[in-house]
Structure formats: structure tokens, C-alpha cells
Subunit: 308 residues, 2 copies
């Protein structure tokens, strides 16, 4: 029951310096006195779309629900602060499920020093849905936006991409520390976290900046998962297709001036590699150039919620 | 489709002085420089529990999703600032539904000067779920908490209660301005908004304050809806039962010292009546005294999300 879960949460939640008033009242109260700009993001994960509950430990679902929000804060090069959690639980087994979801998300919250400020727990006849809203703060550099890319900017990507469906879409590491380090040491012009697939996310950066982009397809860091998935599926898709279109990599995609990009690439300041995979162009549209130097139009394919 | 809805929202949303960066990026950015304490609350409404979609205009559902959050801010005697909206839409007719939900909530957001900062829109095979997270700020008086009631405090209630299911649970007016006015002019010791039913919400105030409470059942302001519902149902429940147990009245329930309560009652500073319906006691448990002076234990019955 709802009241049992709240009692469990009040026992379980660690204190946090930001949290003036935690779960148990009509709302939580956070100390924001030293916060200038507050980043707000919400992500709703639903059964059958973001996870298949009978195929996965619910703890990984809970972790993912928090992690995708951390990734959005990373995309703004911000510091995460606090989160609230809304659950729509199936009536049967709802209590155990809720506890498992929290058991998955709480260790990640502690790792990133995020105060779990409260939530709303509902039971219904529908499947599981979990919505997390996260607050963060910008640094002195301000938020890293999508619309700041300039013609000639290099396209940089962290880590490797494609095939996340094999498991990485649950267990990925949100690039919060990486984004903060990069934004502090270098001039980043625009950025996004790759949730919908490289081609879609690149198209977002390009369109918001009023630009086009050209990928060097042989430089894209293709994940081992993408190779494995192409082999498993045997449907004619290549590892590159998976890197371009799969989504849920949650790596950073950045627009950086050429000189600054060169500095980042030679210094490689992160524990994960950073690759240069192309550049932004004044000419609109997305293109790709292969190893032989042939340039073609890049089909934008990836994840979008379809409804009519 | 998701991108169409975002495009529609970016056109439709009015600018707001708090909103540095609205929908269209990975997260929104709010100017919080002058905010000391930030109130955070989230409420998830689900199909079949909080509304029956084929019986109600979706605009009223959208309005309710925002209104219940405004009511939580009112319960803390805070000022609402901004909200984000997460939708789980059925695939069929999802776009029209999303637009209608927003058309219902946007006028209320404007009325209360709430910045709609962004959201997350999903389609799935499940029924409609809508989660709104709202941020607010406390006033100089600090948040109005549940745990501040003292023995002897009077129990005050705004408006009239019971039978909200006849329509008021959609169209109620969140008591934001009323709570701010009361908190500014008077010393309020504790407060809650009545969402789960008078007996349940009173038990929350009493338990959090380590107290009991005694209602004078003949002084409870029973709504005309409660009378009508009792007549319609013909199941032996009385209008008083509905006032005690129905929930979703979204009126304020307050704990106020005896002298201060007398001042409020004689001044009646709101456009709606304020009634004195009993007092808090050092002795735990809830009791009610009827017009004849007979005191009995008050059964706590109301809304709780049931899951196991």
C-alpha cells in the first residue's frame, strides 16, 4: 500500500544537505539559495517501450529511470541536484515492484549525490510506468545548449555506440562527470546526449543550430554490441547502421571549434575515448562520407514516439 | 508524433520571465537566482483511477493534472513557479489527446503564472497517464508543514466538502491565493490540502504532529454535492459520510492556535467561508462529537492507492 511504501522510503532515504523537507508532506522543500540557474528535466519510462518487465530485474528499470535523467543533465553540462519519482504500479505485486525500482535507483542517486526528494505512488489496472523529474544546476559556463554549433565545428562523440539493446541501455553510465570536465576545460559550442540514435540526435543539433552536418562514417566508434547485434539479427543491417540508428547510447555528442577539438582529441582528458566523426556545415541536411571519399545523403532513422 | 507535438508546444507556450530555456533542448533552464527554498511536488494521474477518459473532455483531465499540483503548493503555503509534464499516450489518437490535455492545463498555468518548462511525451500500448511535476517557492514564513499542530489548536477548513466525484474533482479551484493570504496574515501551525478525504487528511496532520484530533461533526461544512450524492446512491451513506471520506475536495485543512483561529473566523478574510470543525488533542487517535455531545471513535476511511 501507498502508506507502507512512504514509510519504507522515509526509513530508507539517506539525509541530503539540500533536502529541508523530504517525503511525507504534501511536497518536498529544497534549499536552493545558492542556485542561480536550475535545470529541469523529466523522463517517463513505460512498460513494453523502455523495458519488458518479465525479461529484466526491476532494479535495472529503476536505475535506468534515474540514469536517463542524469544523462539529460549531462547533456546540459549541469550538476544534478535532486529528483522526484512518480510510479504507476500494477496492483498485483506493486509493493515489491516499487521497492525493487527504488533499490535500483537509490545507489545511482547516491553515486551522483542526488537527493530523492519525494514522489507519487499510484496503483492502477495498467502496466508499469515510471516518471522521474530531475533538477540540476548550471555551472558558470551556463547550460550547454543544442543551438550553439557553428559551421566548421567538429562533431565529437564520447565512448562507442550502437547495439545498446543488448543491455547497455539499462546499465550505461550517465556522462555527468565527463560533461562537467569537458565544459570546464574546453569551449563547447553545443551538445546533446545520444538517446534517439546518432543520426536523429545529430539532426537535432544541426537543425537547432540552423546548420547541416557531414559524418565521416569510417571514424564512428562502433560498439562491440553493434557488431554482435548485426551478427545476431542477420537482417542485412550493418554495425554502422546500428551505430547510426539504434539509440539509447547516452554518450555525449558535441559541437566544438576545430582548434579546441584538436586540443581535446590530443589531450583525451576522459577515461573513455573521444572521437572526431565529422563536422557541421552551413549547408543544411545531413550527409555521410565513407572511407573511399564518397559522400551521400544520410538517412535520418532512429527512435521517435509514434502516435497519431 | 512526438516532434510535431514539441513543435506545436514551442509555438503555443507563452514566454515566461523565469524560463531561460524552454521545450526543445535536453532540459529546460529556469532562473532561480532569487529563490531561497524550492518546493517540489509531483502527481501522476492515471486512466480509470483519476478519470475515465470516455466520460470526460480530456481538457478537464489536463486541467486537473496541473490543479492537483497547484493544490500541493497551496498546502505548503507556497508560490507556484514552473511545471513539467510527462505523458504516456495511447498510440491511437495520441496527438489530439495530447493537444487537448495541454489546452486544458495551459489556461490554468497562465492564471497562476506557472511556466510550463517542458516535458516528455511517450506513446505506448497502455492507457493514458499524465504526470506533472511542479516547482514553487516558499514565502518568508517558510513552508506550511504537516507536523506543526499543537494540542488545543483549532481545526479550520476552507469551503465545503464531500461529493466531489460529481464533477468538482475536475473543476476545483486550487487554494493557492487563499493559502498565501492566510499564511501572510495569520500564524498557521500546520496544513494540508484535502485530497484523500477529511478523515484521512486529518489523520495525516494529527500523526505527523504526534497528536490526536476531535471533530465536531455538526460543524463540518458539507457540500451540496455530498447531499446530492447521498440521495443518488441510496446506499445508506449520509452526506456527512461523504464529507468525511470522499476526498478530492482540495480545500485547505489547517491547524491554528485558538486565539488566532478566532481572529480568522471573525475576520473571514477569504471569498470562501472558513469553518472551525474541531481541535487537536494530546491524546492520540481521531474522535468525533455529534450535536448531542456524544463522542465516538472516528473511522478513518478515504482514498489510498491499494497494491500488494
Amino acid at each position: 500500500m501507498e502508506s507502507e511504501l512512504i514509510a519504507w522510503l522515509r526509513e530508507r532515504l539517506p539525509p541530503h544537505p539540500l533536502l529541508r523537507l523530504g517525503p511525507g508532506d504534501d511536497a518536498a522543500v529544497l534549499d536552493m539559495a545558492r542556485i542561480g540557474e536550475c535545470i529541469v528535466t523529466v523522463d517517463l519510462l513505460t512498460s513494453g517501450v523502455d523495458f519488458v518487465l518479465h525479461e529484466v530485474d526491476a532494479r535495472r528499470v529503476g536505475r535506468k529511470a534515474l540514469a536517463v535523467n542524469l544523462s539529460d543533465i549531462a547533456a546540459m553540462a549541469g550538476r544534478p541536484l535532486a529528483a522526484v519519482v512518480a510510479l504507476a504500479l500494477p496492483r498485483k505485486g506493486g509493493m515489491r515492484l516499487a521497492v525493487e525500482l527504488y533499490e535500483g535507483l537509490l545507489p545511482l542517486a547516491e553515486e551522483f549525490d542526488v537527493a530523492i526528494a519525494g514522489g507519487d505512488t499510484n496503483a492502477w489496472d495498467g502496466p508499469l510506468a515510471i516518471s522521474v523529474t530531475m533538477l540540476g544546476e548550471t555551472t558558470d559556463r551556463g547550460p550547454l545548449r543544442r543551438d550553439g554549433a557553428r559551421p566548421g565545428d567538429r562533431i565529437l562523440v564520447t565512448g562507442s555506440i550502437g547495439g545498446s539493446i543488448l543491455g547497455r541501455h539499462f546499465d550505461f553510465q550517465p556522462r555527468v562527470k565527463e560533461a562537467l570536465l569537458l565544459a570546464e576545460r574546453y569551449q563547447l559550442n553545443a551538445g546533446i546526449d545520444m538517446s534517439d540514435g546518432l543520426s536523429v540526435d545529430l539532426s537535432h543539433l544541426a537543425r537547432e543550430s540552423g546548420l547541416g552536418a557531414e559524418l565521416r562514417s569510417d571514424t564512428i566508434p562502433i560498439a562491440e554490441d553493434a557488431h554482435q547485434l548485426a551478427k545476431q539479427l542477420c537482417d542485412g543491417t550493418t554495425p554502422l547502421d546500428h551505430a547510426l540508428c539504434d539509440g539509447e547510447d547516452f554518450e555525449l555528442l558535441l559541437a566544438v571549434g576545430p582548434d579546441e577539438a584538436e586540443r581535446i582529441l590530443s589531450e583525451q582528458p576522459l577515461d573513455i575515448p573521444i572521437a572526431d566523426i565529422g563536422h557541421f556545415t552551413a549547408q543544411p541536411g545531413l550527409r555521410q562520407t565513407d572511407a573511399a571519399g564518397t559522400t551521400t545523403r544520410l538517412e535520418v532513422g532512429g527512435w521517435e514516439h509514434e502516435f497519431d
